[in-house]
């Protein structure tokens, strides 16, 4: 299982805070962030738009990373808009 979290405006737009998906989707292993992104984008127009590359930042196991990052079972992946603290 992969645990996926959403934050900020992204969380509100996709109306989802957290979801879990199997590592194997349609017989294929979701082994990179880029693959996970496309699996999620297939969930609908809104998902497709706000998870587009460059729009949502990604962290794997609480570390900011990029789309070529490799995923393993039980990883926690978070998608969020550019940060605005401070």
């Amino acid at each position: 299982m992969l645990k996926i979290l959403f934050f900020g405006q992204l969380k509100e737009v996709v109306k989802t805070e957290c979801l879990e998906i199997e590592l194997i989707q349609s017989g294929k292993q979701v082994n990179t962030v880029a693959m996970l992104r496309s699996v999620l984008q297939a969930k609908g127009d809104i998902w497709n738009e706000c998870l587009a590359y460059g729009k949502a930042l990604v962290a794997v196991n609480q570390e900011m990373t990029s789309d070529d990052s490799v995923l393993n079972d039980a990883d926690e992946i978070a998608f969020f808009p550019p940060v605005t603290g401070g």
Binding site: G8, Q62, E63, M64, A78, P82, V83, T84, G85, G86
Partner: protein, 153 residues
Amino acid sequence: MSHFTQISVQSEDFDFAHEYQKLRDSNNSDGALVAFVGLVRDMNLQKSVSGLFLEHYPAMTEKVLYNIVQSAKAKWQLGSVSLIHRVGQLKVSDQIVFVGVTSQHRQSAYHANEFIMDYLKTQAPFWKKETTSDGDNWIEAKTSDLEKSKDWS
């Protein structure tokens, strides 16, 4: 009396005098102390702001702040470092963030303080949502902040 590093993400307010005193009390060898406080302002893009909600990614926030402080320590000779960031509902003029650093000389303290804020603004998982006269809206990240943090690398 010894140098310390303090990192806190909290909903409660902080007391500037108390945080300042802790930094001062941590040693007698540092001749410089630079402290920065970020506040909620009442205007943003010409809209009147009445409050601010700060969301964060709890499991990640403290890790990132710790890494930013470690990077600052690797770059400059610092004594004590204190970093406090608030989350949750805030009002106009409330304190949001405190960054305090001590060093033997002022230059390291000034630079390290600014470095910590610049990285926090682009790396730490916080998101601000404003309550304005036109309703609530999420604040968009500024390109200028991103450019600023790149200046240090």
